[in-house]
């Protein structure tokens, strides 16, 4: 058990294991994304009131779900790097931020595009949408804060604190539609009780959510590998790796 944690702290080992996870996870994710998109966008029935415009759910909901979950991944990595001073946790935290920002941005933009034909407006300052915008700023804040420091240790400390404080926002986003009167509808997929989305529409949506989790993991591992090589550029294992790449 402990040897696993010690190995996690070793950059070459982490680089290798990330590579071997990517080798099978990336193809599976891409296939799941392709199948989910074609299934959701072409082979489901139109909605009884929204017609075809509801199909944006197959991008909007997965992006939003993974943007929220990804924030917890970032905050937990931040906490580990604060408490145990683990460099690799710091690498993981830094890798999450730009992906989370991109997913949040996708959720906001697709929501806006759906809002125009459905609600009659591109944007409204309701609790769900505003708290989601704050999430985007939190992610961008972590990216910017990291770049603002020359010293990596100080940067990771500041970013870890920011991401930990920001976790407050996640339950607010999630429960905003239940706590306040908002224009955004409550969740259709329910953990307790029956979902209010028809099963024929639900299955491709669940597949897309799983695919987006896979996409997040793949992007995070790719980011981590790039960061590891950059940080360890002067060590023997990276030189060996670069040499092997050049010879190939």
């Amino acid at each position: 058990m402990w040897s696993f944690f010690h190995k996690l702290g070793s950059p070459p080992w982490l680089f290798g294991i990330a590579g071997s996870i990517l080798r099978w996870l990336l193809p599976i994710t891409l296939v799941a994304l392709a199948v989910g998109l074609v299934w959701g966008l072409l082979f489901t029935h139109p909605d009884f009131r929204q017609g075809n415009s509801y199909r944006i759910i197959y991008i909007h909901v997965p992006a939003a779900v993974v943007a929220l979950a990804g924030y917890y991944v970032m905050a937990i990595a931040g906490a580990v790097s604060l408490i145990w001073k683990m460099k690799m946790a710091d690498v993981a935290m830094k890798a999450c931020a730009p992906i989370g920002a991109a997913l949040t941005f996708i959720a906001l933009v697709t929501g806006s595009i759906w809002g125009k034909p459905t609600w009659g407006t591109w944007w409204v300052w309701d609790a769900r949408i505003t708290s989601m915008l704050i999430l985007l700023f939190l992610y961008l804040g972590v990216v910017a804060l990291y770049e603002a420091y020359d010293n990596k240790e100080a940067a990771s400390k500041a970013c870890a604190v920011l991401s930990l404080v920001g976790t407050v926002n996640i339950p607010i986003i999630y429960k905003s539609v239940d706590w306040w009167y908002s224009l955004h509808q409550p969740a259709s997929i329910k953990f307790t009780g029956e979902s209010t989305i028809d099963a024929s529409m639900l299955y491709p949506l669940l597949l897309m959510i799983v695919a987006f989790y896979g996409l997040f993991t793949c992007c995070m591992l790719l980011n981590m590998r790039a960061e590891l090589v950059e940080r360890e550029a002067r060590t023997n294992w990276v030189r060996k790796l670069a040499g092997a790449g050049a010879r190939r």
């Binding site: 604060l82 145990w84 609790a127 009167y181 209010t196």
Partner: protein, 149 residues
């Protein structure tokens, strides 16, 4: 666990709990402002200010929509089945606006308690289903929420 790490863990937990409490208190204090709209029941209780821009949200009462013959004026009633707020709007309504559907109207309440709306938004609910399913439900005497008619 090493005492220094334990101390750091406690600090992390403290930061998260303290900031949650702070944000919780702020959102509790601002709860009236975070709500996007007033339900008609609160308007009836006089909680909504008169002569100031507000939003009222609820269901459009069945059979209440009256369109003018010679202008874009529309009159309808917003209800939460406890109280009603009549509204007047001049302009183009969103496609999903309809009787028995959710809507949020922003405008100003006049002295008679009529909302002079400047913008009307349709509110979609969380029910998604293909038209075939709703047809089947209609035939068997249920609405799209599965309630008996």
């Amino acid at each position: 666990m090493h005492p220094i790490r334990k101390q750091r863990l406690l600090i992390v937990i403290f930061v998260v709990l303290f900031s949650s409490a702070a944000v919780g208190l702020v959102t509790y204090a601002l709860r009236g402002n975070i709500n996007l709209f007033f339900p008609p029941a609160e308007v009836a209780q006089g909680k909504a200010p008169i002569g100031k821009p507000i939003r009222v949200g609820g269901m459009v009462r069945e059979g209440s929509v009256q369109r003018s013959d010679d202008s874009l004026e529309v009159r309808f009633v917003i209800t939460d089945f406890e109280a009603d707020v009549p509204a007047v709007y001049v302009g183009i309504l969103p496609d999903l606006f309809g009787e028995g559907q959710g809507a949020v109207a922003s405008g100003v309440l006049n002295e008679e308690g009529v909302l002079m709306a400047s913008e009307v938004l349709a509110k979609h609910d969380e029910n998604y289903m293909p038209p075939e399913v709703t047809d089947a439900l209609e035939k068997s005497g249920y609405d799209h929420k599965g309630n008996a008619k």
